[in-house]
Each structure stands twice: as structure tokens, then as C-alpha cells.
Symmetry: C2
Subunit: 403 residues, 2 copies
């Protein structure tokens, strides 16, 4: 049907749906951003839910407002002030359907068709899916081990009209990289100089397993040009679909109007449950339990990688977050390897790099999640990945030599 | 800031936020589409929630899929087959954040900037807010008491390139009008002839207080060109934020990709609660209770209107839904009357017609909700509206005569 909006040519191939395809028995899923369901505070959420129902408020199931439950916004204001150096108020915070909707609404605020948008290369697959709906012109900035290449960014900003920069400075999805303080400051300076909005995605910020957190980019912002989004999906549970956004002044007001048009508001019941959970429990303590668990899993994965991956493989050693980024030599095609060898032979799945660069040109990388599977599965899955990858690489090398 | 997307010029003035502005004490809110909170099945939802938590499924709080919980989609397939003449399957149904998100996603599927979009005049304010984000060219088709003026529609389709027609055929928001069967068939015939997609909004369809339902437009569709959306907000509770969409073949597949980009998926916990509620309760019986209550309120409002409104006032007498549509003579400005006289003098609020036509040119209409307030408030509010309106009309008539 040639009647559809032109955005469909891009959005129908995001690859996002594949990540959440139901697992077959015995598959090992390193491809999705699944938290470990054993860590969900199910009993505490159950109690919180019973409390909100038993408080007998009919309004619990009524409409709330586009911005969301005021008490919950206040908790977010307090949390961001204490943990993120972000000082704002309830009139500049809104609840969203995960960070994903906050990203979508920010793109909707900023992007006309063909507008310049900077993303890290590679970047979060869901952000690309959201952005593609607005048909921007993408500029990919290569990632170094301390964040985006800022010289490259400056060259792009000098040469092209760019409206917005999307960054995940803490435990970047998919590389696990943390942007250095120096680069955070330079990012702000460049955005100020070239009059660009920054969309900072702090989804993984609370999940640090080693070392100390750096200031958020938003905390360095003196010109109200950083929009900060984050989520409860990775620290509490994704089944709540609760995220949030903070922005200043007219940016906030305009996004709020867009939120109304997108889905009126978030669920009053769900916001009330989350609010009660936060009243009755120590979130920081819960996050500590989650971090202790994921630290072990990350170490198990890195140990297994050291043991089983071929010597040609390079991978990041993240201090937090959900992902390790694996790269093979440039001419190795990870998507082909995944579809033709790894999944059929072992049932192990990862996300190939072609889906994580808007250009789709970088083929030799893979995003590997370490939070969703058990340590036993991590060890077995990485062993199978390593063996299959070693064989595939040998085969390719032999083929190239013979060629 | 001149950096924002051009859509902001339209979306920041939808008027939608005003509808949900928190009420002051003693205000009577006829402006919003609030259901009566006393009718929410709070205890049954509480029990359903306890059951889903006690079943001990860790996956309850994990990601599900973009389409949503399969068991809930099956129930929707059954419901639509039994009540709406729509025969589809779980692979063509998705859960959304209310019907609002389903409307937004359909607009996102269809509309490039400046594409032709037909809406009823007046139409649902939230749909306008969703559509404005895609910057279409609107064509307003005047409403008659049996639905859109089909000759006018045909003339528009003949003259202009139109991609989509948005209609609320059952108890239209805001007029309360039901589209006749003849017009439903003609709508389909015109859409077929001019190759146009129809977005059918069935949000109020289950809320019939008198008479018999007509077939859905979707049930008359033989060319897979009707996308049907509906919601649990009005029949169960809006605080769940649960709606759904069904479409055929590639339309469905492309909308699903857009749903992923918009918010990944709907809340697994909320879908599970709703699914358990539907397992444990008779939805049709609950709807009957709701209908019995709203019939009384509607009759109370119509009785009060007959008693208190000035003779110049015309109003619809709906057989279902949420709204009565009130019109005064053409030169009477309802928005001015609301802001300058009615609210300051009485605290009574309605939605003025200027917000309900994309052109904003029709000034003499008002959407009056009868479900959200008590019968006592309906009587008092309509009395105050009638007295204030009578005085305002006299004043205007005197002024015109003296002029």
C-alpha cells in the first residue's frame, strides 16, 4: 500500500520486535535488555498494591493529569536532587511509559523531517526506532572507551545543522561505556556554542557495580538545554512501564502537550502503586541488592569471555549497566553469524551491530546482555558463543586465504 | 525557541490539558469525559490484582511483547466477534494506552505532513491533539443527526487527496450522534471508491442506554481498510489506561513496529490485572450496571435542559455515550461565555466548540458531559448554566439591538 506515511519505510525494520520475540525452550537470550525477574520486588509491590486498593480511594482508577501523580513527581525531584545533581521541581517532571516514551516525545518535540540528529554509534536500538518515526538525518559519532569522540562531534556540528544530540552517558546501551567528566563538560560547551538540545538518557545510571558515579550532563547544564529521561524498568521492573522526563520551562510545557496527545496520561493505578512502593521501601537498598547480583553476573560473563572467545574478539569491561560490547575484525558479519550459525547451532542470541547504527554499515559488533540469564546460562551461553565464533572465524579466515 | 519541530505550533494549543485541570471545590465539571468513579469495579479489580500477584509468576513484572498479553488479546477477539461483528484473531489485535494511543499510532502510520485527513465537525478533542502532531490538512465534515453529511464527504473526496477518515460512529464525541446504517454503508463505499483508510473509534459503543446497536463500520469492511480502536476507560476505568486496536495484514504489522518505538509495549502487570478481572467477572453484566446508571444521569440532564435552558438553545438527545451537544445561535461565543461569565459566576465548566473543530471557527457549540457528576450536581449545574446562559443571551440581544 503506497498510501502509508513515508516514515514506515524506516520504522518497519527497526529490529526491535526481534529482541522481545518469545524465547524457545533452551534458548539463551543475550539479545534483549531483560532484568533478572528473580530480583523484581514482587512481594513489596503486592503489598503496596493492596494498600492503595484498601485506602478506598475511588479516584485511584480515575484520570489523573498528563504530568502524572504529584506525590510521585515529588519523589523523583528528591531522588534527582540527591543522586543526580539535578535540581528541579514537580512542575517540570512528568511520568512516561518507560524512558522509551520520553525519548519518543522528545523526538516529537524537536524533529522535523530531515532535521539533523546526532547519536552515538552504536546506540540504543529503541531510541533509533523512536527517532526513525520522525525521519531525521542521522549523524553517528564513534564511541571511544570514554564516550563519544568529541572532535568528531565538533566537526559534525561545525559542518551540519544539528538540532539534538542523544546520549547515554552512563553505562551506554549497547557498549557499557561511561562518558568521562571532561567529555561531559565538552559536550555541554559544544551544545551551548552550536545551540543544540541534548537528550540525556540515564536509564542505567543507578546500576553501577564498581567505581564512582560522575555528574549527570544535566547537572552541568546552565542553559536549560538538557532534557533528562530515565526509567524504573531496570531498577524495579519493566512490567510497570514507568519512566520519567525532566526539562525546563517551555520545553517541558510543550512536551506535556505532546504527552496528552500521545496517550492522555500514564496509568493512575500504576503511578499509585509505584508511589506506595517507594513510600514503604528503601529504593536505594533495593538498588544495592540488584547491583550486587548484576556485578556477579557481569564478572561471570567477563570471565567466560576471557576463557572462551577467540583471540580476535575485543570486548568492553563495563562498570555497570546491562551490556558488554563485543567486536570482531571489520570484515566479520555478526548478523550473518547470528542467523546462520549461532542460533541454529546453539540457540544463543545477541543483538548484532547492524541494528544499532542508523547507517546499518557496521557489521562486526554485538550487544551482549548479562542481566537476564542465570550465571549457569551465562557460562554455558558464552562457551557456546565462543566455540561457534572460533569455528566461524577459522572458516572465514580459511576461505579468505583460499580465495 | 525557534528550534522546535513545526508541529509544536499546533500541539501546544489543543486545549486538552484544560479538560483535565484539577477541579476547584464546588466546581461542576461537565467539560471532561470522566466516568463516574462510584461505578469503577474497585473490589473486583483488587481481587484480580491479588490473584495475579499470588500466582507467583516472576514474569508478571517482566517485559511482555509489543502486541500485549496473548490471553487478553484472545478475550478481545471473542468480544469483538460477539458484540461488534468483527472477526479477527490475536495476531491482529494489540493493547494500547487507551484508545488515545491507538489513534496516535494510526495517525503515525498514515500521515505525512499536509496529507488530507477527514474528521467529523465537531470531533473528539483528543483525536485532534493526536492528529495535530502529524500536521495534516484537515477537512471537516458537518455532523447531521444521523452522522456525517455524506454528500459533503463525497464532494471533499472528489476534490482533495484524502488518506484517512476518522469517525466515531457510535455516540459520537462530542455530539452523542449515532451514524445510521445507510451512512455506514455509504462511508465504506466512498472509502473503497476513493481508496481511503477509515479509523473507527468505538470507545462509546458499549454504552447504549436506549435502542439497538448498529453494525460497526469495520464489520462492513470487505477491503481491510478499516482500523478499529476502542478502550476500557469508559466501561471499566480510565486509571488502567487500557485500550486496543485491530487492523488487518500489513497495516497491523506496521502499527506494531510503531508501538515498539513509541513505548515498547503496554504494562504487563496492568494487562495481567485486566485479564484476571475479565476471567473472574462478567463484563457484560458490569456494563449493564454502568448503562443503567448513565441512563438515569442522561435523562436527568435532558430534563434539566428542557427546564432551564433558554429557548434559543438546541441540544442533542443521545441514546448512549457520554455527551450532549448544545448549540446557541451562530453569533453566540461559547468560549467567551464560559471564561467570562459561567466559570466566574458559577464554577460550572463545559468544553466550548472552538476546541472541537480543527478550523476553530465554529463558536456557538458546547460539549456537556453527563456521566462524571452526581444527579444532584447535574441538576444544579444545568440550572446554573441555564440561568447564566439566559442572562448572557439577553444581554447580547439587547446589545445587538442597541448597536
Amino acid at each position: 500500500m503506497d498510501q502509508l506515511a513515508s516514515r514506515i519505510e524506516r520504522t518497519s525494520h527497526s529490529g526491535l520486535d526481534k529482541l522481545f520475540a518469545p524465547a524457545q525452550p533452551n534458548q539463551i537470550i543475550f539479545s534483549a535488555g531483560y532484568p533478572d525477574p528473580a530480583l523484581f520486588p514482587k512481594d513489596a509491590l503486592d503489598r503496596a498494591t493492596q494498600h492503595v486498593f484498601s485506602q478506598g480511594q475511588d479516584k485511584l482508577l480515575q484520570y489523573n493529569t498528563a504530568a502524572g501523580l504529584p506525590a510521585l513527581r515529588q519523589k523523583l525531584a528528591d531522588k534527582m536532587a540527591q543522586k543526580d545533581g539535578i535540581h528541579t521541581d514537580t512542575d517540570h517532571i512528568m511520568l512516561t511509559q518507560g524512558a522509551q516514551q520520553a525519548i519518543d516525545l522528545t523526538a516529537r518535540l524537536m524533529l522535523n523531517k530531515d532535521d539533523g540528529l546526532v547519536v552515538e554509534g552504536p546506540t540504543y536500538i529503541g531510541a533509533l526506532a523512536a527517532f526513525q518515526a520522525y525521519e531525521p538525518t542521522f549523524y553517528e559519532i564513534p564511541m571511544a572507551e570514554d564516550g563519544m569522540d568529541m572532535d568528531n562531534l565538533e566537526a559534525v556540528l561545525k559542518e551540519h545543522a544539528v538540532k539534538m544530540i542523544y546520549t547515554v552517558p552512563d553505562f551506554q546501551n549497547p557498549t557499557g561505556v561511561v562518558m568521562s567528566l571532561e567529555k561531559r563538560q565538552r559536550l555541554i560547551d559544544l551544545a551551548n556554542r552550536y545551540d543544540v538540545i541534548i537528550l540525556e538518557d540515564g536509564t542505567y545510571r543507578d546500576l553501577r557495580y564498581d567505581g564512582e558515579n560522575l555528574p549527570t550532563v544535566k547537572s552541568l547544564d546552565t542553559q536549560s538545554r538538557v532534557i533528562y529521561v530515565s526509567s524504573f524498568s531496570k531498577i524495579i521492573a519493566p512490567g510497570l512501564r514507568m519512566g520519567w522526563l525532566t526539562a525546563d520551562d517551555n520545553l517541558y510545557r510543550d512536551i506535556l502537550a505532546l504527552k496528552s496527545g500521545a496517550d492522555i496520561e500514564s496509568s493512575n493505578l500504576m503511578m499509585s502503586i509505584l508511589n506506595a512502593y517507594l513510600d514503604e521501601n528503601d529504593l536505594q537498598k533495593h538498588i544495592q541488592i540488584v547491583c550486587d547480583n548484576y556485578r556477579e553476573k557481569k564478572n561471570a560473563m567477563l570471565d567466560a569471555m576471557a576463557k572462551y572467545l577467540p583471540s580476535q574478539a575485543r570486548y568492553t569491561k563495563p562498570e555497570g549497566g546491562f551490556f558488554v560490547w563485543l567486536t570482531m575484525p571489520e570484515d566479520f558479519n555478526m548478523a550473518d553469524f547470528l542467523d546462520k550459525q549461532l542460533v541454529p547451532q546453539t540457540g544463543v542470541r545477541f543483538t548484532p551491530s547492524t541494528n544499532l547504527f542508523p547507517s546499518g554499515t557496521i557489521q562486526n559488533g554485538a550487544r551482549i546482555n548479562f542481566t537476564g540469564e542465570s550465571i549457569a546460562n551465562i557460562e554455558r551461553g558464552i562457551q557456546e558463543l565462543g566455540q561457534t565464533l572460533t569455528a566461524a572465524w577459522k572458516e572465514q579466515a580459511a576461505y579468505v586465504e583460499a580465495d
